[in-house]
């Protein structure tokens, strides 16, 4: 039986839900004035963050064990909401520039956030599935938001077909897991000893995991990532590559780590090596900035898997820190790209996304240059920045659980990634822009500057004081 007073325990989800309804009503009433919808959606995300802080340091099941609230799920929630907040603040400028400033954009993004939060909080496989579908369907629409561009349409259709196919895998996995054990409650699984020795359950678990590996963009299931990320509106790409990925990691990583299957350890280690290799090596030969960032996001999925493969208790916390750093640097990089990008004159293709277009950017607009350089250096893992500590904790847990070979390979491959990040920086600072480029104007408004400054602050503060994050959620570092 559901009690009314239990609703307080899902405050973040509830606030987002109410936010969606209010935004819909405001879109009807003040359709012409986009500022109302814009500020309301930012307010609901802020309210949801506040709700998450209200729930901190609780460990409880809600609605008859359908949802689970504890510090780890709350930490994932806060990271996702931060990513969406930065996206929202920056998206107004981009949407106006591309002439797709519809109120529906905010409603659909908020709905996808609702799905992500459900996934993270879920303690029942069916709730996970509902959340995942809600998130995915919203993403399919968002990817195809630039209706008049062929690339956007193509990537939306690609993503939809592949995503629908993978949902089948996931659902089949859920049905096998239910068939083997007779329950869909996730918390029950980790209490049953020897559960992973049941073949049917193991097959189900593997299929279920595949569904999430697809959403994360891990090696054998990564083919959609560059195409979809390239075709989607840049600001949506930034959100998909951070919030969407974090939701998938937050659902599957704690589950796998709680099972601690020895066979999975080797398998995940091999997959993570292949993912890092694929992402970092193919990124070397790309000429489009968005594709480079897409491949670097595949490589990041590989680093996260290094943490998952270690199957250590601290691993989830290390992954959480990496994701928190990842939100700031990856989303920051995408926001810079979205500020600099401009549609072609006939609005049929993207413009200013090539390597050569970034020549001399730092001289023309030093602020963008400094921000982009910091985000890229952080992605590469240069010491005083947040990305370094993220990788440090991931490789540290890998070494602690006797996966020294894996961490050595990961460090070598992240050295490879330094090449293509530094190449962009060299282009920005040491090359002369062409005459044509000098004439184009860079439109960066006040709001996108705010979100860039927030992302910059996150990257630097977490770099110098990584302990803030752990003390916020009372995580103990061993």
């Amino acid at each position: 039986m559901i009690q009314i007073n239990e609703l307080v325990n899902i405050l973040p989800v509830l606030i987002i839900f109410i936010g969606i309804i209010l935004t819909l009503i405001c879109e009807i009433l003040f359709g012409k004035n986009k500022l109302v919808v814009y500020s309301l959606s930012i307010l609901s995300v802020l309210g949801s963050i506040a709700g998450t802080f209200y729930l901190l340091n609780k460990d409880l099941f809600v609605f008859g064990e359908l949802l689970r609230v504890n510090n780890i799920t709350l930490a994932f929630t806060i990271i996702i909401l931060t990513s969406v907040l930065l996206t929202f603040i920056a998206s107004k400028n981009y949407l106006e520039k591309e002439k797709i400033n519809f109120g529906e954009y905010y409603i659909i993004v908020l709905s996808s956030v609702l799905g992500m939060l459900l996934m993270i909080f879920a303690n029942d496989l069916l709730i996970v599935f509902i959340g995942l579908e809600l998130m995915s369907i919203c993403f399919y629409v968002l990817v195809g938001m630039l209706r008049k561009r062929v690339k956007s349409n193509e990537s939306a259709l690609k993503y939809f077909l592949l995503g629908a196919f993978i949902s089948g895998f996931l659902l089949y996995g859920i049905s096998l897991m239910y068939g083997a054990i007779g329950t869909t409650k996730i918390s029950v699984y980790s209490t049953m000893a020897g559960i992973t020795k049941t073949p049917v359950f193991l097959i189900g678990l593997v299929l279920y995991t595949i569904g999430f590996l697809f959403k994360m963009g891990v090696f054998p299931f990564q083919m959609w990532v560059p195409d979809v990320y390239e075709g989607a509106p840049t600001i949506v790409t930034g959100m998909m590559s951070t919030a969407g990925k974090i939701a998938a990691v937050g659902t599957i990583a704690p589950l796998i780590i709680s099972f601690n299957v020895p066979d999975f350890k080797t398998l995940l280690a091999i997959i993570s090596v292949l993912t890092m290799l694929f992402g970092n090596v193919i990124a070397l030969s790309q000429s489009s900035i968005k594709r480079i960032l897409a491949y670097s996001s595949i490589a990041s999925a590989g680093y996260i898997l290094v943490g998952v493969a270690s199957m250590d208790e601290f691993a989830v916390k290390g992954i959480l820190f990496y994701l928190a750093a990842y939100v700031f640097m990856q989303l920051g990089a995408f926001i810079v790209v979205s500020v600099y990008e401009s549609g072609s004159k006939d609005k049929t293709d993207f413009n200013l996304l090539n390597f050569d277009d970034y020549k001399g950017l730092a001289k023309r607009n030093p602020m963008l240059g400094i921000f982009f350089s910091v985000f890229l250096l952080s992605l590469a893992g240069i010491p005083p920045l947040a990305g370094f500590w993220g990788k440090y904790y991931l490789f540290y847990v890998a070494i602690k659980s006797n996966l020294i070979w894996l961490s050595i390979i990961a460090i070598l491959l992240s050295l490879v990634s330094l090449y293509y990040y530094l190449r962009i920086i060299v282009y920005m600072w040491f090359m002369e822009p062409s005459e044509e480029l000098k004439e184009t104007e860079i439109r960066s408004d006040f709001l996108s500057k705010i979100s860039l400054i927030l992302a910059f602050a996150g990257t630097v503060i977490f770099g110098f004081l990584p302990n803030i994050f752990f003390s916020l959620f009372n995580f103990v570092i061993k």
Binding site: I2, I4, I21, L24, I25, E27, I28, G31
Partner: protein
């Protein structure tokens, strides 16, 4: 020897056999005198005109979507009505919240003008300048 599903298998075999025997015997026994009238489509609709790849008006899909949403709503309303007295006020509030969401969605579609069934008004291309004058 056989379990409960064995009966289903036997039933399947008998069913398939019955159909096969009936069809095959009719095929052997029946007289075959085809005429032109017997080969025309009748009682199954008209002869098709044109191709079957026709573009449907997008409004059909919107109507169908809205229909499905409210269809599902009714599926939820029936069990709710059965246990309504036992749960009481809480059930009422919950269903009110559920209906509110759907109604807001319907109002949204309505206000955005997606339910208007007007005939599309194609834009007739106009030329700003007169071509014939250009020669003079």
């Amino acid at each position: 020897m056989y379990s409960d599903y064995g009966q289903v298998l036997i039933f399947l075999i008998f069913a398939l056999g019955f159909v096969a025997i009936a069809l095959v015997s009719a095929w052997i026994v029946s007289p075959k005198r085809p005429t032109k009238g017997k080969y025309t489509t009748y009682e199954c609709g008209e002869d098709t005109v044109g191709e079957t790849w026709v573009k449907f008006n997008i409004r059909f899909y919107i109507t169908a979507l809205i229909f499905i949403i409210f269809d599902v709503e009714i599926v939820f309303l029936f069990p709710w009505a059965v246990v309504f007295k036992e749960i009481g006020m809480l059930a009422f509030i919950e269903m009110a919240a559920f209906l509110l969401v759907l109604i807001v969605g319907l109002v949204y579609v309505w206000a955005k003008g997606d339910l208007q069934w007007d005939k599309p008004q194609p834009e007739i291309p106009k030329l700003d300048r007169e071509i014939f004058k250009a020669g003079n």
